[in-house]
């Protein structure tokens, strides 16, 4: 697990929390880390111990494909029961960061 005291930026490079906090203090840049967002995803997608049967696994998912899937869902261009609605809450930066995060699980 990444150090929770560090935040991942868009390119998957970690920047110290101090900097994030400084950025957050006076701007709209306050952003949850990829890990923080991803914890919401794994409730459905699971680590394999959770025993999901139908929802596709996304641990170690190829980053490029994840970006393609999530942007596709967001644009309503990929078939989905629920991911279209979830992806609408994600920015491009967050999609990149999530792709980097899940690629290394």
């Amino acid at each position: 697990m990444p150090d929770p005291r560090e935040a991942e930026n868009v390119k998957g490079v970690t920047i110290p929390l101090a900097l994030m906090a400084t950025l957050a203090a006076g701007s709209a840049l306050a952003a949850p880390t990829a890990e923080t967002i991803a914890r919401n995803c794994v409730v459905c997608h699971g680590p394999k111990e959770a025993g999901q049967l139908e929802i596709p696994k996304i641990a170690n998912y190829p980053a490029r494909k994840m970006v393609e899937m999530l942007t596709g869902f967001r644009a309503g261009q990929k078939e989905a029961t629920i991911m279209d609605r979830i992806a609408k809450a994600l920015t491009d930066e967050q999609i990149q960061a999530l792709a980097a995060y899940f690629a290394n699980q």
């Binding site: 935040a7 101090a18 880390t33 923080t36 914890r39 459905c44 959770a50």
Partner: protein
């Protein structure tokens, strides 16, 4: 000092938070007490321990087993067994969390101590309250805790779930089932309407001449169009909803006569499922973290009580802005609260939270739909970023998939909370 070198990098901003922690500053392991071992409390305990292995985490839970409300409607409808929704605390105990089966009966926020019914008391550096809801028993004349043995609420799962199921099994064909839905806010906004669907599933197959009346003080409810569409598709003519405007607000019940009196008139029921109004679990009130309406205001960024510092409130008990009172909300709030709590123990700024909710409803085997959203903390409270409900008129395949996905959601959340 326990705090790591790295945290001093952030110290410029966070230094003030280091004040007032003499015990931890002396190097003792921080003590975190969590009251309530449901979706919120289980998750909070697990994530505090995960983020801060050196912390002493104690989970106080009244019951030996956790029976989930999610999926309890399927037990009532006869498509699931109690066993499916009954979970133990052994797995999370194995993660190094001390599980104490007792009831918290008091909180002294100055002395930072929780007292237990069994007589012991637990000192804490940070406290998480996740007690879920209590019922306001006397809100409607005629109803009471004793009346719940005749007109079950089944809004806390366990014996009440089975009681409602048994009453349905004993009912004659051609009987009337009345569901009394509560006003907002309440635990699980789609719950009463999912329940109507599940009861209809049972009745359609076993007592097809029966009907279901839903008495409601509200004029709209969660996933309403989807529920109506499903009732129409699956149970035409069986379920009637009486809205607030139509006089659906219940003013009195009579458990002896088995009648429900609403603004529009009186109805007799063969089975009456009365869901009372709610407030935060009593320990929240005893701890001084509730407002005048009985719920707990929190800091949207951390879930820390705005009334008493050092106490975090997650789950149904909290006022979490746009988030509905659900197991998924409680789970998500608890993860973010755990991160904020650990940051505060380390003298750091809380990380930016990311909240989410999903509620699946299954109204017949192979017929499910959902509401989902992601949320952010803003100075005005927790706000929805984006989300929505399943499409109306979706193909049967989608409803079938969503029913299957609901089971995966259940597996996932039970693993995250108590696994």
């Amino acid at each position: 000092m326990r705090t790591s070198r790295r945290s001093f990098v952030a110290g410029g901003i966070a230094a003030s938070a280091l004040v007032g922690l003499p015990r931890i500053a002396r190097g003792a392991a921080p003590r975190v007490v969590v009251v309530g071992g449901g979706f919120g409390g289980g998750t909070a305990a697990k994530y505090v321990k995960r983020l801060m292995p050196e912390a002493e985490v104690t989970l106080v839970e009244r019951d030996r087993q956790f029976v989930t409300c999610p999926f309890s409607n399927y037990v009532i409808g006869g498509i699931e067994k109690m066993q499916t929704i009954t979970h133990g605390y052994d797995k999370i105990a194995k993660r190094g969390i001390k599980v104490v089966h007792d009831e918290a009966v008091g909180v002294d926020a100055n002395a930072k101590k929780v007292t237990l019914k069994g007589g012991a008391s637990l000192a804490y550096d940070r406290l998480v309250l996740a007690p879920g809801i209590d019922f306001v028993w006397d809100a409607v004349p005629g109803y009471s805790e004793a009346a719940a043995e005749i007109m079950p609420h089944a809004w806390k799962a366990g014996p009440q779930t089975l009681l409602l199921r048994k009453q349905l099994e004993a009912m004659r064909d051609g009987g009337t089932v009345i569901i009394v839905a509560p006003a907002n806010p309440f635990r699980c906004p789609p719950g009463p309407y999912e329940r109507a669907g599940m009861i209809a599933w049972y009745l359609k197959n076993h007592k097809p001449k029966s009907k279901i009346l839903i008495f409601d003080p509200k004029d709209t409810f969660s996933k309403q169009a989807l529920f109506f569409e499903s009732y129409e598709n699956l149970y035409p003519g069986m379920i009637q909803w009486i809205s607030g405007k139509q006089g659906g607000k219940v003013t009195r019940v009579d458990p002896k006569a088995m009648t429900v009196e609403a603004e529009f008139g009186e109805e007799k029921g063969d089975v009456i499922n009365f869901i009372p109004p709610q407030r935060a679990g009593k320990i929240a009130q005893l701890a001084g973290v509730t407002d005048e309406k009985g719920w707990c205001p929190i800091d949207p960024k951390t879930m820390e009580s705005t009334k008493v510092k050092g106490i975090y409130v997650v789950g149904d008990a909290s006022i979490a802005g746009a988030m509905p009172k659900s197991g998924t909300s409680a789970n998500s709030q608890a993860r973010n609260a755990a991160a904020a709590l650990v940051a505060s123990l380390r003298g750091q700024e809380p990380p930016e939270p990311s909240y989410a909710n999903t509620c699946y409803s299954i109204v017949a085997p192979g017929y499910g739909f959902s509401v989902t959203a992601m949320y952010a903390a803003t100075p005005e409270g927790i706000k929805e970023i984006a989300g929505g409900v399943s499409r109306l008129k979706a193909p049967a395949k989608d409803r079938d998939l969503e029913a299957a996905y609901a089971y995966d959601w259940y597996r996932g959340i039970m693993y995250d909370a108590l696994g």
